[in-house]
């Protein structure tokens, strides 16, 4: 059997999603962003909503999300993506509008914007990458940094007396009446990737129902910022991050 025989459509089990561009990704090897980008691209493609989807990219490592998924994009100022998304969705109600934000962007400088977008029940999707650190600026403490976790601005570990406590955003916003679906997922195993994809698809489907904001948190690794190998970062995430940020659905108004 030669290669040409093997490379037949019925034998293909995995391929690059149609909506992922050919641009070389700038993410570090082992980073969760690339996987989450792939899932979003697959969901948009499978739902057939490329022409009606508008993405809002944040400030942080994923500022260049617009280079990788083949849809129209708006690049927001730090933390402000939910404000852009709110107006975009209200002015273009037939569009699917999502923000893609990290924890520095969403849980620190952008807390007002995310909380009020949730409270107003904006019919948007929010993808929240929580890796407990500022990746792009070089590994500083984020609001989601765990107690004791070392970062470049908590070199001796996060001390709550000095740095306060980690914020658990998904649980906070679950108390707001404007949220429809809130879930926390990860992408560190094949099974987790499949569950995360289902969650992202559900969020996009809910945004068509005009029942409020859907929020998918992805507990993620930043192996460069954490100064670990990708494999060690995954283990550390399971052992430490999952305790503070347990995986699973938090709210679903249609259940």
């Amino acid at each position: 059997m030669d290669i040409a025989e093997i490379k037949r459509p019925e034998n293909i089990v995995y391929r690059k999603p149609a909506l992922i561009t050919d641009n070389v990704m700038h993410y570090c090897p082992g980073c969760s962003h690339g996987t989450v980008h792939k899932l979003i691209a697959e969901v948009i493609d499978e739902m057939g909503i490329q022409e009606s989807t508008i993405g809002i990219s944040p400030v942080g490592c994923s500022v260049f999300a617009y280079n990788y998924i083949d849809i129209d994009w708006e690049e927001a100022a730090h933390g402000r993506a939910p404000a852009l998304a709110s107006a975009t969705k209200r002015l273009c109600p037939d569009k699917h509008v999502f923000t893609y934000q990290g924890d520095g962007d969403l849980a620190s400088i952008g807390t007002a914007e995310i909380i009020h977008a949730c409270s107003r029940g904006e019919n948007i999707v929010v993808i929240f990458i929580n890796n407990g650190i500022y990746g792009m600026t070089g590994g500083q403490m984020a609001p989601t940094t765990l107690i004791g976790m070392k970062t470049s601005t908590t070199p001796y570990g996060r001390d709550p007396r000095l740095n306060g406590f980690p914020m658990v955003i998904a649980d906070m916003i679950s108390h707001l009446d404007g949220t429809a679906y809130i879930t926390r997922q990860s992408v560190h195993t094949a099974a987790a990737v499949r569950k995360a994809k289902s969650a992202i698809r559900k969020a996009f489907e809910y945004s068509e129902k005009n029942i409020g904001l859907s929020f998918v948190e992805i507990v993620s690794t930043c192996n460069s910022g954490w100064k670990m190998s990708p494999v060690a970062a995954n283990s550390w995430m399971v052992e430490n991050m999952f305790k503070k940020y347990p995986i699973g659905d938090i709210k679903d108004v249609l259940k």
């Binding site: 708006e74 927001a76 404000a83 569009k95 007002a112 914007e113």
Partner: protein, 360 residues
């Protein structure tokens, strides 16, 4: 004859937005301009033209909402007053950097800080010289009446879309609160989806087959690319400076003394010119209607035959810097102003004029 309605300048902004086919207003309450959003909410334009009106959680959010709306090619606007506009400067800079059209109304009050809620022209430098970080210009237009407030919304959007640039309507608490008769021009419908595809092919309208994805961003990490963009902006500003300067002159033909004043100060100054003329002193007035682009050339031309030029402002003397630049030492340049929300009378201006010019 067109209908005339008695209304506040702030109300004129709101009514004009609805009648001129604005797609969305996003704002946050602040004195002395809260009537803009109050009027819009009372009028419920979402039931008629389909215009979206939303009260944001902060000025920061409001300006970023219009950033999002402008990305989609929509006609979007906000309004605020000085402290709120400080917060909006981040978004204004991003919109300048992303080359997005929008209209922002600043109904100025006294400052700095929380300052007063009374009228002032304290934001001239912030808005005309800055309006956020980076190397850019806002187009700045200065109304002097409730009618101007009505007319400048449409003019502002015209400029904003022609140049893909933020336009600031720099008003003040007097213009916002004062009631005057306002002539209603014919209603303009909101643009259709097809209009937007034709007029704003750059907008985030959803990527369709046959065109590359539209990305609205102000980011470039490469110095050479950023410099090329900065120089592109520079050419745009040069075109704006060449084509869009607007000013109004009052009794300047034979004038020996020139006042320069914008907004409400220009109307008080007009009365001062009349008083001086009754005393036989040939005074005249130039009112810059566009503050960026500024009428440097005309002020310069006029100053060549003046005994003096005075800038009259409701602040500590901000525009006077531009007047000096225009006059270039051809004659003495003076300044008179009131601050903190206090307003000068024509008599005060006359007294200050006589003192500056050593006249009795």
């Amino acid at each position: 004859m067109a209908e005339k309605i008695l209304m506040k300048g702030n109300e004129a902004i709101a009514i004009s937005a609805i009648r001129n086919g604005v797609d969305g207003y996003f704002g946050y309450p602040i004195t002395p301009q809260s009537e803009v959003m109050e009027t819009l909410m009372k009028e419920k334009p979402w039931e008629t033209s389909g215009m979206v009106v939303l009260q944001a959680e902060s000025e920061t959010s409001a300006v970023n909402m219009i950033y999002g709306g402008a990305c989609c090619g929509k006609k979007v606007m906000t309004s605020s007053s000085s402290p709120g506009v400080s917060l909006m400067c981040e978004g204004i800079s991003y919109m300048a950097g992303a080359e997005l059209p929008c209209v922002i109304v600043d109904v100025m009050r006294g400052g700095p800080g929380l300052g007063t809620i009374q009228p002032s022209q304290s934001d001239y430098d912030m808005i005309v010289k800055g309006g956020g970080h980076g190397d850019f210009h806002n187009i700045v237009i200065a109304p002097a009446s409730a009618q101007d407030m009505y007319d400048f919304v449409d003019w502002g959007f015209d400029l904003a879309f022609r140049y893909r640039n933020p336009v600031i309507i720099l008003a003040d608490g007097i213009i916002g609160q004062m009631m005057e008769k306002v002539e209603m021009h014919p209603v303009k419908p909101r643009r259709t989806a097809e209009d937007i595809l034709r007029d704003a092919p750059w907008a985030t309208t959803g990527k369709t087959a046959g065109r590359p994805r539209n990305i609205i961003t102000s980011l470039s990490l490469d110095s050479d690319i950023q410099e090329v963009f900065n120089q592109k902006l520079s050419r745009k500003y040069a075109e704006i400076e060449a084509k869009e300067v607007k000013y109004i002159e009052y009794l300047t033909e034979d004038a020996e003394y020139l006042f320069v004043a914008f907004g409400c100060a220009s109307r008080i100054c007009e009365a001062a010119v009349d008083e001086l003329r009754q005393d036989g002193i040939k005074a005249g007035l130039l009112r810059p209607v566009t503050l960026y682009p500024y009428p440097f050339t005309r002020v310069s031309e006029l100053s060549a035959r003046m005994k003096s030029v005075m800038s009259i402002e409701l602040n500590l003397g901000q525009m006077v810097t531009d007047v000096r630049l225009a006059v270039e030492g051809r004659c003495p340049v003076g300044f008179y102003g009131r601050q903190g929300g206090n307003i000068f009378t024509p008599e005060e201006i006359v007294d200050a004029f006589k003192k500056f010019n050593n006249l009795k």
